[in-house]
């Protein structure tokens, strides 16, 4: 990152923390915005957030590592989370898992080399009456079959990118990452 970009990022984070009331309860919403924008929370961001909130960076790391939707490790542009809990399990999630691995060429917990897809397990997504269910970023897919897995992935591939899907939803004031 260029120095100016870093400064811009810091200024933006500062602003967002202010918007949320300039106290620690701003921490998670701001980390969520960073996660959404960059696909992970970098050490630099943790340091910046800690400075602004006057807490130790380890405190920030403790939070980043606790929540499964926030993380230090870089995620792909599309994070696919397949529900593995009982109702979806009974509705055939194992076959979907196999098909996702086949079509993406990766295992669960991995990201494709082109940085486009991350495959993960999720616990109950609240769609048990319409399983098996999976989340692609914020979008939910239900009654997925091994056959429709391909269509879902194609749908992602034809989208401009993760931001096309999400930016409308979040009034995210952070800069777009440099290519």
């Amino acid at each position: 990152m260029l120095v100016s970009e870093r400064e811009q990022l810091r200024a933006n984070i500062e602003q967002r923390i202010k918007d949320y009331g300039n106290n620690r309860s701003a921490l998670i919403p701001v980390l969520q915005e960073v996660q959404l924008k960059y696909g992970h929370v970098s050490e630099y961001v943790m340091q910046v957030v800690a400075d602004i909130l006057h807490i130790h960076p380890v405190e920030v790391y403790g939070v980043v590592s606790f929540y499964s939707f926030i993380g230090h490790k870089q995620k792909g542009r599309f994070v696919i989370r397949l529900c593995r809990t009982l109702s979806c399990d009974m509705q055939g999630k194992d076959r979907l898992a196999r098909q996702l691995e086949n079509d993406l060429g990766i295992r669960f917990g991995e990201t494709t080399p082109d940085g486009n897809f991350t495959l993960e397990w999720a616990n109950c997504l609240g769609m048990c009456d319409q399983g098996p269910a999976l989340l692609v970023n914020e979008r939910i897919y239900t009654q997925v079959t091994p056959e429709t897995v391909h269509d879902i992935l194609e749908e992602c591939r034809t989208l401009f990118g993760v931001y096309a899907l999400q930016e409308k939803e979040t009034q995210c004031a952070l800069p777009t990452p440099a290519k």
């Binding site: 620690r24 998670i28 499964s68 939707f69 926030i70 109702s87 009974m90 109950c124 319409q130």
Partner: protein, 399 residues
């Protein structure tokens, strides 16, 4: 088949805004009195009397109090809150506003699970409309001195944050680790201020009770579990979805309504609930008998009960916050035990030890997660001993 028909539910028959308008003509004491008379208990699972929680929070003297709606809906097999948020959001916001009036709060927070992020903009728009209509903001509906607004905060994929003290920790920007209680949130909640945390469905029943009367509500159900309840039904039955049934319904009656007769077992209350075998289908769904936050998973005759127990133990192992030893270590041991049983390599002596461990977890864990995570394991190993002991081959699951 998915057969949620919201048009038949009570929530469709109560006009949004009506209960709120009526409640604002009542004093806070009268509102709580009405809830007391209805004997409404929390719909999030624990069944705590709603009026008691509100009375305690109302009694504290503080300029800043909070109303928190628990929309973290993480219990496996539960999705009724999603349906309420989608179809009856206004009624739920009415309920939160009535709660605010009752305890003297000026701020409301909906803690929406990260998995439901797709609902956020929809709910935000609803809130904006309410502000425009004077249902939120300064002097709600023209009532001088009653200011109330609601904001939405997102969870980030942690089941434990549905536990109310963990939820508050999370709102405060901390790891979602449950607190020691006391102090209770009604005294020392969000940012140290009195806070009521209630389930989405609990809030939604409030305007219905205000509109239709406490007697209407407590005439339904049993002595200790009054009223109607939404159930999330999934698994091996003909009709999946959200259904409204009276409390006190027997499991057999419920199964008949969802085309699930012939089931081998019913998991009531999600992963932290109990597994009820067919011989006990005459039992009732009620806080005093088989409690549930609404999750009903029907388990058909061909299912492997060890697969069920194993799936739940994996869930708890994944979701334990790791703060206390009985839960952190115990869940791993129970899961290992299930693997041994699956392989047919578990002695009766060891199984008894595991059951003792489960009982210790129920007593010694710090929060509801560890206290209830052995429930499914214990009920399955005691009620389905025949099926799980002395396996000679790996029964392929879910055949």
């Amino acid at each position: 088949m998915r057969t949620t028909d919201t048009s038949k539910m009570t929530f469709s028959k109560v006009a949004p805004g009506e209960g709120l308008k009526k409640a604002l003509t009542m004093s806070p004491e009268e509102i709580i009195g009405l809830i007391t008379e209805s004997r409404l208990k929390g719909r999030g699972g624990a069944g705590f009397p709603t009026d008691l929680k509100w009375t305690l929070a109302a009694a504290v003297n503080d300029d800043l109090k909070y109303v928190v709606c628990n929309a973290d809906e993480g219990e496996p097999g539960t999705f009724k809150d999603r349906v309420i948020l989608t179809e009856f959001a206004d009624l739920m916001f009415d309920g939160m506003t009535i709660g605010a009036r009752a305890i003297g709060a000026c701020k409301g927070i909906v803690y929406l699970r990260g998995e439901y992020t797709y609902l956020r903009s929809f709910l935000k728009n609803k809130l904006a409309e309410r502000r425009k209509d004077g249902l939120l903001g300064k002097n709600v509906l023209g009532h001088e001195g009653f200011d109330f607004d609601i904001e939405i905060r997102m969870g980030a994929g942690a089941y434990i944050c549905g536990e109310e003290t963990a939820l508050i920790e999370s709102l405060e920007g901390q790891r979602g680790e449950p607190r020691n209680r006391p102090p209770f949130p009604v005294n020392t909640g969000f940012m140290g201020h009195p806070t009521i945390v209630n389930n989405v469905e609990t809030f939604t029943w409030v305007p219905c009770i205000v509109t239709k009367g406490a007697k209407w509500f407590n005439d339904i159900g049993t002595e200790r579990s009054t009223g109607l309840k939404l159930f999330s039904v999934s698994g091996d039955c003909g009709r999946h979805g959200v259904f409204e049934f009276p409390m006190g319904i027997t499991i057999q009656e419920l199964l008949e309504k969802v085309d699930g007769t012939g089931a081998k077992a019913v998991q009531a209350g999600g992963a932290s609930g109990r597994c009820v075998p067919a011989c006990d289908f005459g039992r009732t769904i009620a806080f005093e008998d088989v409690p549930t936050g609404g999750s009903i998973i029907v388990i058909g005759p061909d299912r492997d009960m060890l697969q069920v127990a194993g799936n739940f133990m994996e869930f708890f192992l994944d979701e334990s916050c790791g703060q206390c030893t009985p839960c952190r270590e115990g869940n791993a041991k129970l899961l290992e035990g299930i693997e041994l049983l699956k392989a047919g390599r578990c002695s009766m002596k060891y199984l008894r030890e595991l059951c003792k461990l489960g009982e210790t977890m129920q007593l010694a864990s710090k929060c509801g997660l560890g206290q209830s995570s052995p429930n499914a394991f214990l009920s399955i190993v005691t009620k389905f001993k025949d099926e799980i002991m002395g396996r000679t081959e790996n029964v392929t699951s879910n055949a």
